[in-house]
């Protein structure tokens, strides 16, 4: 260990590579319109976190309505205005706006930007030993497209008629008859966000293929890089169909075409003045052709983070690294041919339903393999229960619940009962909230020292973790119960109207308190985050004694990242190598002796 330290100190003392322009850049070019992948990564991450907070706030309003249907919202109700909540009582229209925008914001403006834009941008070039992304200007454009998309979505709340209210799935014909501006802004916002993701993914793929450091072969890439690489392919090839679909829906709304509108529609007693002849199911196919790969976009980076953190904190190599890599590639591939499992009940015959449920069962296998590999990686480890490790460990069973509840949904017969119930909501929140969000928290605690040169507080971290774990389950487990009991999703009154829902109605209050409790549980995180930027314990390059390349750069890394281009000598997780004195062999260190 001492030897490695010495080498680090020596490296730190070596004159830093002179990076031209660095000082010359003014504030705007350095922090706002920056082309440095680390700055862009941080911009993405912070914006993403803010949107997560915003999406969560929308949900807390909804949870009030679900727990106390049609009772005035305390305090906030007044502020919402009469068009949203007259007398503080939320209108059904407004509830639907909140729901649609919660889904959209969490997925497209919160998690993806944080997981891919944030972590991908910041960590990926460092981990492969690159000085920057392959196309820095495109990278900047990607962030600003995302930003514009976010602004568009945000502004839509103040448009006449309010924000989009046809669900995050925006199924026509409903999406074609809800108030005009909300839906149009949603579509325009989506076009921005899709463009941003496309630009980003081109960058990620090119960077990974072209800018790997000397010696960094594909099978020496950290698992996180693989996960991002596959994710980028999903974004690249699955998003354009949704872009096409968004353009078509825009045409339907603006030019009065009928791409998604069948003939003979009668809305509130009035026949619609359109040509008809379109297909509402076409939208669903195009949407889910994207949106299923999209859900793997939400989970793969999370798995990547968890793998990094687990390897580092068990102090041993990942079990079955190659198997994991093959699985993640297979997963990416398969994710393109399962989309219609969201559409079993649109009138599918046996052949198509059979095809899609078979592919759905097949795609669960690589997930099981990855999870198994992560579980087995723990065996024989010397587990450090640091804050990032706690979040990463919690990810495993939480994703387990989420993934397992995907099975009855993926079998078309059982989906008859469960489709569009809270069971679906429970299923995917288990994967995205205590799953992905926890993994993202793990990533924040893990790489915060690299980004800022300071550690976050362990005490506050644990104060963040334990209540979050409890409240997450308090929010989402009852959803599975309600779903089995047949409570539909997207109900303004949380099911109060239905006889069969009465027995499980009391869970609504429990879940709501869980959600508000969850909010309180985030306070230590927010405090910790902001306080540690300036006041955290300063660290050297490699506070976690990790092996991957990002830890070979200074903390925080300068523009251009490494003092000299690193050379890679071995795989990414050489911990506890027999006979090594330091106990771990970083990728860039030639040999111990």
């Amino acid at each position: 260990m001492a030897e490695v330290r010495d080498r680090e100190v020596a490296a730190a003392r070596a004159p830093a590579l002179h990076v031209p322009h660095e000082e010359a850049l003014g504030f705007w070019r350095k922090y706002v319109f920056s082309t440095d992948h680390k700055v862009i990564g941080i911009q993405y991450a912070v914006t993403g976190l803010l949107f997560l907070l915003f999406g969560f706030s929308l949900m807390m309003l909804m949870r009030w309505q679900l727990a106390y249907p049609e009772q005035p919202l305390p305090w906030i109700g007044r502020l919402l205005g009469d068009s949203r909540a007259p007398g503080g009582v939320m209108l059904p229209e407004f509830y639907n706006q909140l729901g649609a925008m919660h889904g959209t914001i969490m997925v497209f403006l919160g998690v993806v930007p944080l997981a891919v834009g944030g972590f991908g941008n910041f960590v990926l070039p460092l981990q492969i030993g690159a000085p920057d992304m392959a196309f820095p200007k495109v990278n900047m454009a990607s962030y600003w497209c995302y930003f514009l998309g976010g602004v568009t979505m945000f502004v839509s709340f103040f448009a006449p008629g309010g924000a989009a209210q046809a669900g995050w799935t925006s199924y026509p014909p409903l999406a074609a008859i809800t108030p005009f501006w909300g839906q149009v802004l949603w579509l325009v916002g989506m076009v921005f966000l899709i463009t941003s993701s496309l630009l980003g993914s081109i960058n990620f793929i090119t960077t990974t293929i072209q800018l790997r450091a000397e010696g960094m072969t594909f099978f020496r890439l950290p698992f996180f890089v693989w996960a991002q690489f596959v994710t980028a392919f999903l974004l690249l090839l699955a998003f354009p169909p949704l872009e096409a679909a968004a353009v078509l829906q825009l045409m339907d709304r603006i030019a009065g075409t009928s791409f998604f509108m069948p003939s003979g529609l009668v809305v509130s007693g009035q026949p619609l003045e359109i040509s008809g002849g379109g297909s509402p199911l076409l939208w669903q196919h195009l949407f889910w052709f994207l949106a299923h790969p999209e859900v793997y976009v939400l989970i793969l980076p999370a798995m990547g983070i968890v793998a990094e953190v687990i390897a580092n904190n068990t102090r041993k190599p990942l079990w079955g690294y190659r198997t994991m890599v093959y699985s993640v590639v297979f997963l990416g591939f398969m994710s393109f041919i399962v989309w219609a499992h969201h559409m079993f009940l649109t009138g599918m015959g046996t052949t198509i339903a059979g095809f899609f449920q078979t592919t759905t069962m097949i795609i669960s296998v690589p997930s099981v393999i990855i999870l198994t590999a992560l579980f087995l990686s723990l065996w024989g480890g010397s587990i450090r229960f640091t804050t990032p490790m706690l979040f990463a460990l919690a990810f495993l069973p939480m994703f387990g619940i989420g993934g397992l509840t995907g099975l009855p949904l993926g079998l078309s017969a059982t989906d008859i009962h469960l489709h569009d119930t809270y069971y679906v909501i429970g299923h995917f929140h288990y994967v995205v909230a205590p799953g992905t969000i926890f993994a993202l928290f793990a990533g924040i605690y893990h790489w915060f020292p690299k980004a800022t040169g300071r550690k976050m507080s362990e005490f506050l971290g644990k104060l963040h973790f334990w209540p979050s774990l409890v409240f997450m389950n308090m929010v989402f487990f009852p959803m599975l119960i309600q779903g089995l009991a047949g409570v539909s999703r997207r109900l303004y009154d949380g099911g109060a109207m239905y006889t069969h829902a009465q027995e499980v109605l009391y869970w609504n209050k429990i879940m709501s308190f869980g959600a508000w409790g969850l909010a309180v549980a985030q306070l230590p995180f927010v405090v910790n985050f902001f306080r540690s930027i300036r006041g955290g314990e300063p660290v050297s390059r490699n506070p976690w004694e990790a092996t991957t390349l990002e830890w070979a750069a200074p903390s925080p890394p300068p523009h251009g990242n490494f003092e000299r281009p690193p050379v890679v000598y071995r795989g990414p997780y050489e911990y506890s190598v027999p006979g090594s004195a330091a106990g771990y062999l970083p990728q860039h260190v030639a040999a111990e002796h």
Binding site: F233, L237, S279, H285, M348, T351, I352
Partner: protein, 99 residues
Amino acid sequence: MDEHALDIKKHVRIYITVFVALLALTLITVAVSYLHLPKVPAIALALLIATVKGSLVACYFMHLISERKLIFIVLIFTGIFFTGLLLLPYFTEMDVVGR
């Protein structure tokens, strides 16, 4: 690709040939359309001609004929998913209960 002057000269000759071929094929496909063939052969022929034209453009103008393996890998992947996308109409229309 090595861009020796001689090579380029050879290239230019090829480009002109391809250009003539493309124009000829365009005229053929338009001419065929005035024959008013039955639907299926008409579609098959038009798409066949378009595919030939497209391949000419891709192979010669876009230099695919001498491209690297990596680009082909990317394109093969895309091709697979593109095929899936074109099967989408089948999934929407062909196996619907009650029809």
